[in-house]
C-alpha cells in the first residue's frame, strides 16, 4: 500500500499542473479583453497573475476552489443556508434514505431470485434493462408523482426528500442486487452438501452458509451503491427546482454566474462521496471482524 503513495501523489500533481495551465489558457481571454478596453499593455507574467484571481473565472484555478470550499465549510455556521455543510447534509440525508431503500429492495430481490426460478427468469432481465433506462428521464416524473400522491406528508417528511430518495434507490439497488445474487450463489456444492449431511433446514443453510458467504460480495457492491445513491440524490435535485442540497447549490450558482460556488459545491460532493465510501469500508471491516475474519 505504501508503495502507491508516491505514484498517487505524482498523478494528483500532474492533474493540478494541467488544471493550472488550463485555467491560465481559459481565463486569459477575459484579462486581455479588460486590458484592451483600457488600452493597457500586459506582460505575460501580469496576465498569469490576473488569471489566478478573477472573480468570475471560466475555469477557477485549484487554490481559488479550495479557498471557496474552505469558506463555505468554515466561515458560516452550519445551520446557515450559505454553509456547504448544511447543503451537504440535505444531500446526504436523501442519499442515505435512498441507499437504505435500495439496499432492502436489492437484497430481497436477490434472495427471491436465488430461491425461486420464476423470479430469476422474469426479474433478472428487467433489472438489467431498468439500468439502461436513463433515470434522469424519470426524475421530473417521480417528483410530480410523489408530490401529487403526497407521499412525503404520509411518511412525515418533506416531499422533495422522497423523490430524491426514490431516484437514489433506483440507481443503488442494482449493484446490491447483482453482488448479492453472486454472493448467495458463491458457496460451492461441497459446502452445501456438508449442510445437507448435517440435516440443516433451508433457513439454517441460508443463515449459516449463504448469508455469511455473501458478505464480501455485498460490501464490494455497497461501495458502488452508495456512490450511485449520491449521484442519484444530486441528479434528483437538478431538475426538480430544489432549493437545498449540493445539486441545487450547483444549479443556483450556474444560473447566477458564480463559478467559484459551483466548483466548491462540486468538490464538496466529491468529498462527501469519498467520506461515504470510507464509512462503508469501515463498516465492512467491523463486520468482517465480528464474523471472525482474521487479517
Amino acid at each position: 500500500m505504501r508503495s502507491s503513495v508516491l505514484p498517487v501523489l505524482t498523478v494528483i500533481g500532474l492533474i493540478l499542473a494541467i488544471w493550472y495551465v488550463g485555467s491560465v489558457a481559459m481565463n486569459q481571454k477575459w484579462t486581455r479583453d479588460q486590458a484592451a478596453r483600457t488600452g493597457a499593455e500586459l506582460t505575460f507574467a501580469q496576465i498569469v497573475a490576473d488569471t489566478m484571481n478573477q472573480r468570475r473565472p471560466l475555469l477557477p484555478p485549484p487554490h481559488q476552489v479550495a479557498s471557496a470550499l474552505w469558506d463555505g465549510v468554515t466561515k458560516e455556521p452550519v445551520t446557515s443556508r450559505r454553509s456547504l455543510v448544511y447543503h451537504s447534509w440535505i444531500t446526504i440525508e436523501a442519499t442515505l434514505a435512498g441507499f437504505s431503500l435500495g439496499l432492502v429492495i436489492g437484497v430481497s430481490m436477490a434472495v427471491g431470485i436465488v430461491y425461486f426460478r420464476v423470479l430469476d427468469a422474469s426479474l433478472m432481465p428487467w433489472a438489467v434493462i431498468s439500468q439502461t433506462i436513463p433515470i434522469i428521464a424519470l426524475a421530473p416524473m417521480i417528483v410530480v408523482l410523489s408530490n401529487s400522491l403526497g407521499l412525503g406528508e404520509r411518511l412525515g417528511v418533506e416531499n422533495r426528500l422522497v423523490s430524491k430518495a426514490i431516484i437514489a434507490a433506483y440507481l443503488s439497488f442494482f449493484p446490491v442486487l447483482v453482488g448479492m445474487v453472486k454472493g448467495l450463489r458463491s458457496p460451492d456444492s461441497m459446502q452445501t452438501d456438508l449442510l445437507t449431511t448435517y440435516n440443516a433446514t433451508g433457513w439454517q443453510s441460508f443463515a449459516k452458509l449463504r448469508l455469511p458467504a455473501s458478505m464480501p460480495y455485498l460490501f464490494a457492491s455497497l461501495k458502488v451503491a452508495i456512490a450511485a445513491a449520491l449521484v442519484g440524490a444530486i441528479v434528483g435535485e437538478l431538475p426538480t427546482g430544489a432549493v437545498e442540497g449540493l445539486g441545487a447549490r450547483m444549479l443556483v450558482a450556474s444560473q447566477f454566474g458564480q463559478p467559484l460556488l459551483m466548483w466548491a459545491s462540486l468538490f464538496a460532493a466529491a468529498i462527501v462521496a469519498g467520506l461515504l465510501i470510507i464509512v462503508v469500508g469501515g463498516i465492512e471491516r467491523l463486520a468482517a471482524r465480528r464474523m471472525g475474519v482474521r487479517p
Binding site: 508503495s3 502507491s4 505514484p7 498517487v8 501523489l9 505524482t10 498523478v11 494528483i12 492533474i15 481559459m26 471560466l58 426460478r117 420464476v118 430469476d120 427468469a121 422474469s122 426479474l123 433478472m124 432481465p125 428487467w126 434493462i129 439500468q131 439502461t132 433506462i133 436513463p134 433515470i135 434522469i136 428521464a137 424519470l138 421530473p140 416524473m141 417528483v143 410530480v144 408523482l145 401529487s148 400522491l149 461501495k223 458502488v224 456512490a227 449521484v231 444530486i234 441528479v235 437538478l238 431538475p239 449540493l246 445539486g247 450547483m250 444549479l251 450558482a253 450556474s254 463559478p259 459551483m262 466548483w263 459545491s265 462540486l266 460532493a269 466529491a270 462521496a273 469519498g274 465510501i277
Partner: protein, 283 residues
C-alpha cells in the same frame, strides 16, 4: 379524460390476467426461459392498464399504457427530432470521443508502471464521483448546442473506460507474454496481438457501464440549457405543463434507446470476445 371514473371491472380483470400470466411463467421457467421476461413485461403492462382504469387514476398522475401509446403514435415526428438532437448529436459523439480518448490514454500510461500505480486509485475514486455535476460548467463553456452535451458525456464516460482499460492491459498472463517474447515480438506486436485482445473483456465492461452514463449525461446537460428541442428539454417542459403522456412517450424512447445502445455494445462484445469463458459456456 379517461380515468375520471373508476371502472372496477378493469382492475379485477387485470389482476386475473396477471395471475394467469404468472402461472404461465411458472410453467415456462422450466421449458422456455427466454419467453419468461416477455410474459412478465406483458403482465406488468396489463396490470398497469388495469390499475389506472380500475381505480380511475387521473392522467396527470399516471397515464395508462394505451394513452401513452396513442400519444407516442401521434407525435413520432417530434420524438424523432428530440432523439436525433439528444442521442445522435449529443450522446454518441461524446461517447465515441470519451471512450476513444480513454483507451488511448490508458495505452500511453501503461508504458509507465509508476504512473499506472498512481492512476488506478485516483481513477477509481474519480469514477465514483458525481461527475454529472459538471453539466452546468460545460453549458457555460460550450454554449447551449450539442457541443456542451457531448462534453458532459465525454467527462462521464472517460474514467470508467480508463480504469477498466488500464486493469485490462495487465490481464495477459506472464506465460503468454513470455511466449510473445520467445517469438521476438516487439512492444506494438505484443500490444496488438496479445494485450489488447486480452484486455477486451475489461474494456467492454467499461463500455457497457458508459452507455447508460452517456444517455444520463446528455439528458441532464439539457436541463441546464438547450436549443428548443431535445429529450431533456422536452421532458422538463412537458412536466411543467402536465402533459404526462408525452413525458412517458419520451421515457419510452429513452428506455428503448438505452436498451438498444446497450444491446449493440453487448453484441459487439460477443463478436470480439467470443473466446472468453463467459460466452463459450452459454452455447
Amino acid at each position: 379524460m379517461m380515468g375520471a371514473n373508476p371502472q372496477p371491472e378493469w382492475l379485477w380483470g387485470a389482476v386475473a390476467v396477471w395471475l394467469g400470466l404468472w402461472a404461465l411463467n411458472v410453467v415456462l421457467a422450466r421449458h422456455a426461459r427466454w419467453a419468461v421476461p416477455l410474459v412478465f413485461g406483458l403482465a406488468v403492462l396489463v396490470l398497469w392498464e388495469g390499475v389506472t382504469r380500475g381505480l380511475g387514476v387521473p392522467e396527470v398522475i399516471l397515464p395508462a399504457p394505451t394513452v401513452v401509446a396513442r400519444t407516442f403514435a401521434a407525435s413520432t415526428a417530434m420524438l424523432w427530432g428530440d432523439f436525433v438532437q439528444t442521442i445522435v448529436r449529443g450522446a454518441l459523439p461524446g461517447y465515441a470521443m470519451g471512450c476513444g480518448a480513454a483507451v488511448v490514454l490508458a495505452v500511453l500510461i501503461d508504458r509507465s508502471p509508476f504512473l499506472t500505480r498512481g492512476l488506478l486509485p485516483v481513477g477509481n475514486f474519480v469514477a465514483a464521483l458525481p461527475i454529472v455535476g459538471i453539466a452546468p460548467i460545460m453549458v457555460t463553456w460550450f454554449g447551449f448546442g450539442w457541443q456542451s452535451k457531448a462534453a458532459v458525456v465525454f467527462a462521464m464516460v472517460f474514467f470508467p473506460v480508463l480504469i477498466n482499460t488500464v486493469a485490462g492491459l495487465s490481464a495477459a498472463e506472464r506465460m503468454q507474454r513470455d511466449l510473445m517474447r520467445t517469438y521476438a515480438a516487439g512492444y506494438w506486436q505484443t500490444l496488438v496481438k496479445l494485450r489488447l485482445p486480452a484486455a477486451m473483456p475489461f474494456i467492454f465492461n467499461g463500455l457497457k457501464i458508459a452507455t447508460t452514463l452517456a444517455l444520463i449525461g446528455a439528458i441532464v446537460a439539457e436541463f441546464f440549457g438547450s436549443p428548443t428541442r431535445g429529450m431533456g428539454f422536452r421532458i422538463s417542459t412537458a412536466v411543467g405543463s402536465l402533459a404526462l403522456p408525452l413525458v412517458w412517450s419520451h421515457i419510452a424512447v429513452a428506455a428503448l434507446a438505452g436498451t438498444v445502445f446497450f444491446g449493440i455494445v453487448t453484441a459487439m462484445e460477443r463478436r470480439v470476445t467470443f473466446w472468453h469463458p463467459s460466452h463459450r459456456a452459454r452455447k
